[in-house]
């Protein structure tokens, strides 16, 4: 059936894979009708998909440095787009994003704009030039462009701080899903999640991660879109929700005006379990100041362009031209999910609050709501709560509380979809969290093994030894991440946003100016990275400890302050020190031209 080169057969291979996955969903649906338990279906979905990823990871094993670090630089544009989309969309995007939109409306949707607009910066400012450079990692670019071990080391430090903040959140998410689907305690589920993650990346490095990420994208996009379309059709809201929910959006605004947003007293709120929230913000009205919206979007955009696990995906394309196109495809595949999240939030909210719909619970008696099956299930899972604060026996809008994850996880059940969909959603969430965790762990391990170990500590190491070091680091970093994740220090979304701020504080300007400003030199880059990271982190600590902040920069947007300091420091220090030598300037000229040899050789 499959002849010849693997790369030439990719559409066929993944076509068969997609067909197989759809067949698996149908088999599960039939099994459910025949009486298979919900728990067994959940286990089947997670176990089956993780087993497939592990097989792909094993088949992609390699002993060559360029296959391990950059997948042999032969990933076609569209497939690299899918892999980047999976790399990018984390457990947070999948599980928590629709919930964030549901509760916070417009103010939260700055994240949608920020997490997509950043790709314009990636495509126009960085990706093609870093691809031409021929580096294996992001610090590889910094180290070669500016020269010297200190610049390289600082880049490794910024990368590690940002990516490690991010990866604990992802391992946490795989643990949450594994613990629900497999019904085991969270502390163990975290390590089950970790082993699944390592199975994809251990043997094949970037090559293994690339081909598993494509497979994971296919699972996660089916798992996100199928329920959205199904629910929309079942509610009679329109067969293509993205174009047809205007009436539903205005109906929500009408109901909001009718119910009003009643503020609960602090005493009443004490009753509500931690992590649950009520609907207190308008759905489609503008509920944030322009600067609050713009600063958050801007921080996320600049963070996107500085996060190394995204940038290194564009090192795997066959050419500079392909790297540019591939950014477009990445954003297209991301767009498919991001544009669906607000639709899911709309459907979910309307189905719960509209008294004229059979699923609506507002306006029903409290006792009636408490006797609904799905309410009991999700109340037990600590994701839903109602309480009769005003004692009138009827559920009001301000008396209903829900966890952010429930929007994605519970809406299919509320809308009366079969359980097989919930199993599918669990598999999708697992795929989203695993693919991002893999990309991040690999980014850290590669930076440490290539830049710290090979380039700084032992430049004479042989390929075999380098790859052993890379794999050992992969496992060590994975376990360190899982150990911290098991402690459950902070929520999933908060730490994701911090990662963007750390990355932009330390790396955005050193990367961009490295290509676009020939005069930028080593001293400037060192000052930019060090002062950017220190001032960003300092601002975060200050605000976290009760500092008032300034210019409306919050703990979610501290990167704006960090990167501004980084820019000023880099420009000032570059200008007061000597300009880069002729060889460096020539190197920058070569980077700016797509044709010709890359700066760094194929094996370096």
């Amino acid at each position: 059936m499959i002849k010849g080169n693997f790369i030439d057969n990719l559409p066929k291979v993944y076509g068969i894979y997609t067909g197989g996955f759809l067949a698996f969903i149908i088999i599960m649906a039939i099994a459910e009708q025949m009486g298979m338990s919900a728990k067994a279906i959940g286990i089947c979905f997670v176990a089956f998909t993780v087993a497939i990823y592990a097989i792909i990871g094993y088949l992609s094993r390699t002993a060559q440095a360029d296959a391990y670090y950059v997948a042999g630089r032969q990933v076609p544009t569209v497939f690299n787009g899918m892999a980047t989309a999976a790399d990018w969309m984390s457990g947070a995007s999948f599980v928590a994003m629709a919930g964030g939109i549901y509760f916070k409306g417009y103010g939260y949707m700055a994240l949608l704009v920020g997490w997509t607009g950043g790709y314009v910066l990636v495509a126009s400012l960085l990706a093609p030039y870093l691809r031409k450079f021929g580096c294996y990692t992001v610090p590889d670019f910094i180290g070669t462009r500016y020269g010297g071990n200190l610049a390289r080391l600082l880049a490794v430090i910024v990368l590690t701080v940002a990516s490690f903040t991010y990866v604990t959140a992802q391992i946490n998410a795989t643990g949450t899903i594994a613990s629900v689907a497999l019904d085991i305690p969270f502390q163990y589920a975290v390590y089950v999640g970790l082993i699944s993650i390592l199975l994809c990346s251990m043997l094949g490095g970037m090559r293994g991660v690339t081909w598993t990420q494509v497979a994971q994208y296919i699972v996660l996009i089916i798992a996100y879109l199928l329920p959205v379309f199904w629910i929309s059709n079942k509610m009679g809201a329109g067969f293509f929700p993205h174009f047809m929910l205007a009436d539903e959006v205005s109906r929500i605004a009408e109901l909001e005006a009718q119910f009003g947003f009643v503020k609960n007293s602090a005493e009443n709120l004490k009753e509500v379990p931690k992590g649950l929230a009520g609907i207190t913000k308008a759905h489609s009205a503008v509920n944030a100041t322009p600067w609050a919206f713009i600063s958050l979007a801007l921080a996320m955009m600049m963070g996107t362009a500085s996060l190394p696990h995204v940038m290194m995906r564009y090192f795997t394309t066959p050419s500079v031209k392909a790297a540019r196109k591939s950014v477009g495809w990445s954003l297209f595949f991301i767009f498919l999910l991001y544009s669906s999240a607000p639709m899911l939030a709309t459907l979910s909210k309307l189905s719960l609050i509209d008294p004229s719909l059979p699923t609506g619970i507002i306006g029903k008696s409290i006792a009636e709501v408490q006797s609904i099956d799905w309410y009991q299930n999700w109340n037990q899972a600590n994701l839903m709560f109602v309480s009769d604060f005003n004692g009138n026996g009827t559920l009001e809008l301000n008396e209903f509380f829900m966890g952010g994850k429930a929007v994605v996880l519970a809406t299919p059940e509320i809308a009366g979809l079969p359980y097989v969909i919930s199993g599918l959603v669990a598999a999708g969430g697992m795929a989203a969290a695993m693919s991002t965790a893999d990309g991040l762990i690999l980014a850290i391990a590669n930076a440490l093994s290539h830049d710290l170990y090979y380039k700084i500590i032992d430049p004479k190491a042989e390929t075999a030894k380098r790859l052993v070091v890379a794999r050992v680091l992969l496992v060590v970093i994975g376990f360190a991440g899982a150990t911290i994740a098991a402690m459950e220090i902070q929520g999933i979304l908060g730490s994701v946003i911090w990662a963007f701020d750390f990355a932009m504080s330390g790396l955005f300007f050193p990367l961009v100016l490295g290509v676009w400003w020939k005069r930028a030199n080593r001293e400037g880059a060192i000052a930019g990275m060090a002062l950017g990271l220190i001032s960003g982190a300092g601002y975060l600590i200050w605000v976290r400890n009760g500092g008032s902040g300034f210019l409306g920069i919050t703990q979610l947007t501290f990167g704006i302050f960090g990167s501004a300091v980084s820019l000023v420091a880099m420009v000032v220090v570059s200008l007061i020190t000597a300009e880069p030598n002729a060889a460096t300037q020539k190197m920058v000229d070569e980077v700016r031209v797509p044709s010709g040899k890359s700066i760094l050789g194929k094996q370096h």
Partner: protein, 86 residues
């Protein structure tokens, strides 16, 4: 001016245009979010709401493909495009 300098000048021009469009749809329009939301946008959604959930996102996708094509043209014009195809 050398061929390379001309190529870079055009590339920089394209960057400026791309960033200007990017700025309008990621930052500029949201300065007027509240006013714009009074207007009915595509498919009947309030206009600002539509931009945050589809409009800006879709424009970014198109913008990147447009940018990639323009840059390829510039590279070809100066004979800097890569040999071989992807």
């Amino acid at each position: 001016m050398s061929k390379q300098a001309q190529h870079w000048e055009k590339t920089r021009g394209l960057l400026m245009v791309t960033l200007a469009i990017w700025f309008v749809f990621s930052i500029g329009i949201f300065l007027f979010g509240a006013e714009m939301n009074e207007v009915t946008g595509p498919f009947g959604y309030p206009l600002t709401y539509w931009f945050t959930c589809q409009g800006s996102l879709g424009i970014f996708v198109i913008l990147i493909f447009w940018f990639a094509n323009r840059q390829e043209k510039i590279d070809e014009e100066f004979g800097f495009s890569e040999r071989g195809d992807d």
